[in-house]
Symmetry: C2
Subunit: 152 residues, 2 copies
Amino acid sequence: MDAIDLSLVELLRNNARLSYAELARQVGLSAPAVHERVGKLEASGVLRAYRADVAPEAIGLGVTALIGIVEDSGADTDDVLEAFRAMPEIESCYFMAGVESFLLKARVGTIAELERLIVRLNRTPGVASTRTGIALSTKWENRPQPVTPPAG
Amino acid sequence: MDAIDLSLVELLRNNARLSYAELARQVGLSAPAVHERVGKLEASGVLRAYRADVAPEAIGLGVTALIGIVEDSGADTDDVLEAFRAMPEIESCYFMAGVESFLLKARVGTIAELERLIVRLNRTPGVASTRTGIALSTKWENRPQPVTPPAG
DNA sequence: GGCTCAGGTCGATCGCGTCCACGGACTGTG
DNA sequence: CACAGTCCGTGGACGCGATCGACCTGAGCC
């Protein structure tokens, strides 16, 4: 991970569809060299995926909720996690410090679907309680921050 | 937004670097037709960006926090929002229903940086209080859910 | 010095991106 | 019904990009 690798990562974070030729121009190497570097970054797990950022409402996911989960004492955290993983509405899952073991970000189409999701969560073995907050609007999401900007 | 557009969106959500030729094969159209459709999806705001998904620890962002913000009574929400926007550590910003007006997802390199961020947030005009939860681990994030899966 | 390896460039080949002309289905109109 | 216009697609052409292999160079090490 030298400076050129960081540049490549930053460029791809801002536009994952840049061609190797364009990346090469930006970092001052040849296209094959960039191709090899990007391949290594993918293989080493630094670059995990390339995703289109889609307007959620356009694909019928107009409701965003953030849900805190309190586990039962003695719950098997791995089992709870697997249950969450099986619910596609749960887009993100963080294991948290604090009373609430998990914080989930879920997207659904309607409030009725959110209700059903919450019922399912509360029924999940190991889940003691849930606390749901509704996002009225998403101001921004997954904004890539410049890599190592405030190095001073 | 017909079924083919949805397929294209879904394909690009899972791999934003697919070539037009490959997309064309997958949806059964010619490459120019796909090119035009994708262009229209971008122009209409359905496809907002293409981003590489990067392992945060690899670029020095090992600490993830979720921060709830309570506004002062009489605060100017737009000003608060602009102050947040100027902080690159804040990767996501949701405007919430409830006592806490905002929920922020922030990523920093160290706990010390998180402390400085929280101090800055508390000093921001319009912010009455903050409540920070630390993510011990990110189980997954921004998992794309299949478009219109449970149509039945 | 000479080996070896990592990591680059260069050149060639093949497939892809992209522009353009063309064509069929649908629609509204005389 | 004939006609024209529009939308949306296909196919061909051409230049650029992706990708492979051969070769070059500098660093580290006997």
